[in-house]
Amino acid sequence: MQKLFATIAVIITGAILLNAVEDFPRFGDPHSPPNSGVSGGSVSSSVHYLQNTYLDTRVPNVVTAVLADYRGYDTLFETAVILTAGIAVFAILRVVRREDEEESAGSEEKACSGEFSTSDSDGEGRHRVVVGTTCRVVVPLAQLFGFYIIAHGHPSPGGGFQGGVVLGTSFILIALAAGLGSALGRLREDMYLRLACLGVFIYAGIGLLSLFFRRNFLDYGALSGLLQTGGEEMARSHGIFGVELGVAMTVTTVMFALFANLSTRGELKGGL
């Protein structure tokens, strides 16, 4: 009975949505309001961005400029949402044992001190030779690619979110190939929690910095004096890059924190 009602509801909603699609302009229609350049008598926002982004920010990739500069608030709170998700998973799953319970697991702790070893204490080591060797080749390349995506968000697709996810994935790869302890040896828990908060702090901090120059929050053009750039345009470009770094920091650490907590039920020991 429930399924019948659900099916009817889905069909009705789908019909309404499909009906609404009819009214959309065709894909790539040059006469649609966003593309023709006029919406309600004034220049439409998309044409405004396409014409002025490079002049305002010296950033060739319009998407990056819109995300990090024109719509900076949006991205700031998106980053805050990611941090909140990380904090929520941490708060729900993380199990912190008391000191006396910790001692029994002390020997395991030592084995996790950061050696990139494919041999695990549970004797499964020899099965992981292929995975470990692949990981040893792939992880540095993945991290390099991650930094490239972050740094190259200005002229090409990419930016803090994507680069951060790639960087976080490289740590997950270490955790899968060499055990979670090995990955935690590289990015300790207190470290990643601090870095996650620091990322949002950098973003909001760059925004606040422009307040000190009597400009609006997140108006990076105000930093031109501080950064010794000739004009405000390059200051905006540098501001966008600083913001992307903050986003990448939060995303990288939160992705790894999610995996570490989910794969061990918050114990941060053993792993998959």
Binding site: V165, V166, F259, L262, S263, L272
Partner: protein, 81 residues
Amino acid sequence: MILPLDIILLIFLVIAAVLALKLRDLLSATMVFSIYGFLICLIWAEMGAVDVAFTEATVGAGISGALMIATIFKTARKSSD
């Protein structure tokens, strides 16, 4: 926009979406869900939204699958409903 490629991608997208919901084995459902993310990524890329496609490739097809597999390993593999 290439129409035949579009139609093929959209058909596979619908199949992947229905399969991801219908599969009882959650590990397989996660795989199909990752395929779904990858197909959406291809559609975004084909429509010229490269930044969105990039995000979808890393998040939808990449890390969400890894996180869900990690969760399945620590919970139950079979769906109860």
